[in-house]
Symmetry: C2
Subunit: 669 residues, 2 copies
Amino acid sequence: MNISKMIAPRSIALIGASSNPNKIGYQILSNIKSGGFCGHVYPVNLSEESILELKTFKSILDIKEHIDLAVIAIPAKFVKDAVLDCAKARVDSIVIISAGFAEVGEEGKAAQDDIASICKKNNIALLGPNCLGVINTSLKFNATFAKDLPKEGHISLISQSGAIITSIIDWSKNSPIGFSKIFSIGNKALIRESDLFEYLYNDKDTEVVAAYIENLEVDQHLSDTFIKFAKKKPTIILFGGKSSFGARAALSHTGSIVSSYTSVKAYLTQAGVIIADTLEDLLLYSRVFAAYQKISGSNITIVTNAGGPGIAAADHLHDLGLELKELSEKTIAQLRRHLRPEANLTNPVDILGDATELEYEKALEIIANDKETDGILVILTPQSATKINETAAVIARIKSDKPIISSFVGGQILTKARDIIEDAHMPCFSYPEEAALGFLMLSRFSLGKQTLVSQKDSRRNHFPLQNRDRILLDYGLPVVKYFEGSNFDRIKEEADKIGFPVVLKTADQNSHKSDQGKVILNIEDTFHLQKAFMKVGAPAIVGPMIDKKFEILLGIKKELGIGMTILFGTGGIYSEIYKDFSYRIAPISRDMAMDMILETKIGQILNGARNQKKYDLDKLAEIIVRAANFAGDYQNISEIDFNPIIADKNDFHMVDVRIITNDDLEKKK
Amino acid sequence: MNISKMIAPRSIALIGASSNPNKIGYQILSNIKSGGFCGHVYPVNLSEESILELKTFKSILDIKEHIDLAVIAIPAKFVKDAVLDCAKARVDSIVIISAGFAEVGEEGKAAQDDIASICKKNNIALLGPNCLGVINTSLKFNATFAKDLPKEGHISLISQSGAIITSIIDWSKNSPIGFSKIFSIGNKALIRESDLFEYLYNDKDTEVVAAYIENLEVDQHLSDTFIKFAKKKPTIILFGGKSSFGARAALSHTGSIVSSYTSVKAYLTQAGVIIADTLEDLLLYSRVFAAYQKISGSNITIVTNAGGPGIAAADHLHDLGLELKELSEKTIAQLRRHLRPEANLTNPVDILGDATELEYEKALEIIANDKETDGILVILTPQSATKINETAAVIARIKSDKPIISSFVGGQILTKARDIIEDAHMPCFSYPEEAALGFLMLSRFSLGKQTLVSQKDSRRNHFPLQNRDRILLDYGLPVVKYFEGSNFDRIKEEADKIGFPVVLKTADQNSHKSDQGKVILNIEDTFHLQKAFMKVGAPAIVGPMIDKKFEILLGIKKELGIGMTILFGTGGIYSEIYKDFSYRIAPISRDMAMDMILETKIGQILNGARNQKKYDLDKLAEIIVRAANFAGDYQNISEIDFNPIIADKNDFHMVDVRIITNDDLEKKK
């Protein structure tokens, strides 16, 4: 789709231009003009001769020049005709500002679909309807009804909320954040977020892609786009309506465990996308990534002229899982030579309340070459002797391949200093905790791996439920075999196959299994088996003796768009209470399976934490991979729960397996 | 101690006044003068005639007027003599700015103790040494070396970091935060935080007490002060060095579970103190409490002119555990009459992008009377039609007994509007999530209960270890009785007392209990008991048969200053992995014990969550109370671990009890 003509047009028609300053059609025209856009602008209006000193046209068809972009801001009922005219005029792209479509109900949805199909047939890129418009700062092009252009920069923004764009533009005015391109996506009739992500990933002016999205449409195109680009260009997404994700997911019967939002998060994280939890974080992360995209490790050294804020930053780095290593001996020796003896050279490095700009400079130059340091967090508090702006200038001049994020702790007196540092493309925040958070995101993006892989359905096997256990065993899955019978000789034969000790329990559905004498554990030989059989009575079930020490849950679910979600964690009765789970999207490697295991608390226990016996986790990782392969191989399997898998005597036993096929789901409907 | 003379002096002597602008002695004098302080100021200096147009004195003893406050800013080695002079001159209070005392080592500590005892003997209130000084905005009194006075207001601040004071003052300049009194506590030689908390709680200009503290000194006085006042005046504390709390706590042998910081948090929370996690939060909470201190419930209604930020706020409220109820039918009917039909009247209430100030006014007036609403979160985004300042004026005028916290989402364009609202003593933030957090704190302070009670040691019983189980049983604690013997008749006799089914296991320490045949479960009668005894061999242990379905941990620990910490949660092998615990400080009521139980996940399971059997939690709460009483009654008990307490068949069984007495701890040393 021709998004580049839309965002960088040479000629625009504004259908619905107005001379009434209260109308959106006036505001957009005024914004295009006052922004400083240099292309040709053609207002389309039925009654006026000229608006804002521009000659108007009765119809887009009257304009002689080829039109790259038509912006439509007229009542919904007239939009279709305008779009048909645009098609006739062979415009490349359309932005429909007008509301009154899918968001108001079925009828609006039908009208919107109609318009989308006209555009599709005529190869017109269509953004909206029901949107704020588009902005391109490098062309000083503002085709929105938001009052001003934001500062120019390298962050591009996709937003499903026009208001959030308006607010962010306003924020950017007295903050160092600068933008390149902004798209308000509205109802997504034709251009969807995946198209815009792809466009921005290929746009050389965009270094960071930020997005606010309320319902992410996950499909092959989005996945492929993220897989190809998200680890190269930092991508930050804030979701709106997280709390309602849960409600939607509850429709699915295992929704209480795998909520859809959790899957989306696993999916995006594996793709290398950063998720912001708040608007504030969306802006903070964007600001950090606009400055830095690489860090070599997670050891942060703090340089401060004040104890308190240094400690606060250290606490926060620690809480976030980053590390404060001590400086190398060489570095300490060098610092000692250049700083006063009272300076504290353990990390956080405290260069004292009256530190001069020269002391800051020396400390930073030396630490920039420290081999134990991956990033430097610089703190300045405005103490009486502090030369604030001079110190800022020193920081701005430091040459280092390590990221430097500063916090000048205070208000107005520091504004200029922060600008000096930001002008050198180094982030400078007010609060030390913000700088710490910046390092966390940087290390996640730079050091995290991308493990999302493009999924192509190839095998089309149909899973035959009647051969269930046989097939599972063929996949190498340790399904526990039980035998039910009324004949003791057959039971004895099976017990021999299973190997003693065994368990014998009644197969009588009406009897409570836990009733005394109806479940006999730990039967060690044939003699005791016979005694047990007499007690339990026929029919009985014989199986291996497995202690229920640790119970594991492995769940697999195919979700539209996202693919196959794999869930691993604590099983059994504690499962839904502790919610001790890790998630991945298939396909999954042995290494990824091992990461999944070790991310959970049950995984830590099985790995020998807290003096527990260490289990063979390679085997368990292999089981996860095999189970995922099994589920992937059969087209009609929609969901599997292995719950519990029991860890006992360094082995794993699948004692309960539940498979749901599409056929089951069809039946339900 | 005469803190009021220190913070509101009529006469000051500055010992160490200097004419050199680089010296602290000059900066302080200059700050006192330029701030606008109206009392008498006497510089003390050996060589100069006058400084900053003030006549100097060679010694404080030369000053004729009585001195309320002496500020000392001379090298450490001269401080003692100056203090002796102050004592002779009968000053009421001293602030020692000079560093070089306890913070530099043993020698400095001795000098500091010496000075403290001189002050104590002479009944002089002493602040510092090694501090920034004190500020009182209502007197325009700035006896610090921080450049400016902050704005006047009703927040008072206690800080162990001078730099944090400097930064906060600077912040306050372009924020609506205003301060009353500020104390830099330094090394706390004499005046400690408890004295300052007490002073500020009794100060009528102080409505909110904020503090930054690195090592809280918990004692009877602090406890009594918090108990008396912390629920009346909002108190917010940020701790520095949280990450090192863990290190210190690790010295204690159960430190991995009850870290000292956790105990401090439990202690402060029960006292009604609010804990801030970051500097940003400290200021945010202070700002909210300066405006509101009461809310009647936790139902928040959002009023917004934009969907996106409304959704973001709703998500955040939901994450924080606050509620969004729907408005009452009456309210909805009223709103319908005054708003346009497209407005969305479900919560978040969306009054549309082009909402006028009159629509805001009507919506707020109506919702202010809604019976389902406890607080109103107002969001404004600067859209093209938005009359920003007019809307702010409308909000500032709303009369409501419900707290109203606003978020004007954007930057510079909204600055004036935010000021208009803040001038009416209503908080207005940039981010909707900040407003949500404000409501959380307000509801915690206003709706939370204070359960910390003053502790007086009265009983001095000595716990005799040899009668352990007898005493525990006397307290009504369900200790499981085991009997060890080699004689079958005695074992049979005990089994009859316990009641079948029983468990028999070997008492041979060298045998692994889990070895086959050495532990026989579920023995139902004497016949089988005898068979089991033959198999296990003598000596053997007989006990009741208890299934290990749910394991509970109850821990009690006496901590210096804090008192008796009670820990409840998941026990057994999962205990340290899930860290599913709740904490309280004794004394504890049945209701508090029930809260403790229900705060944990194991408590939810025992309460019948996820289709589990419901246990008698009243009984369990009673056990917690009794265990706490038991530990409290014996002076020499320092720690008890009941781990696990097994929940089985609607009863609770203490199968393992470990008691540590002071005698044990003494022996260790």
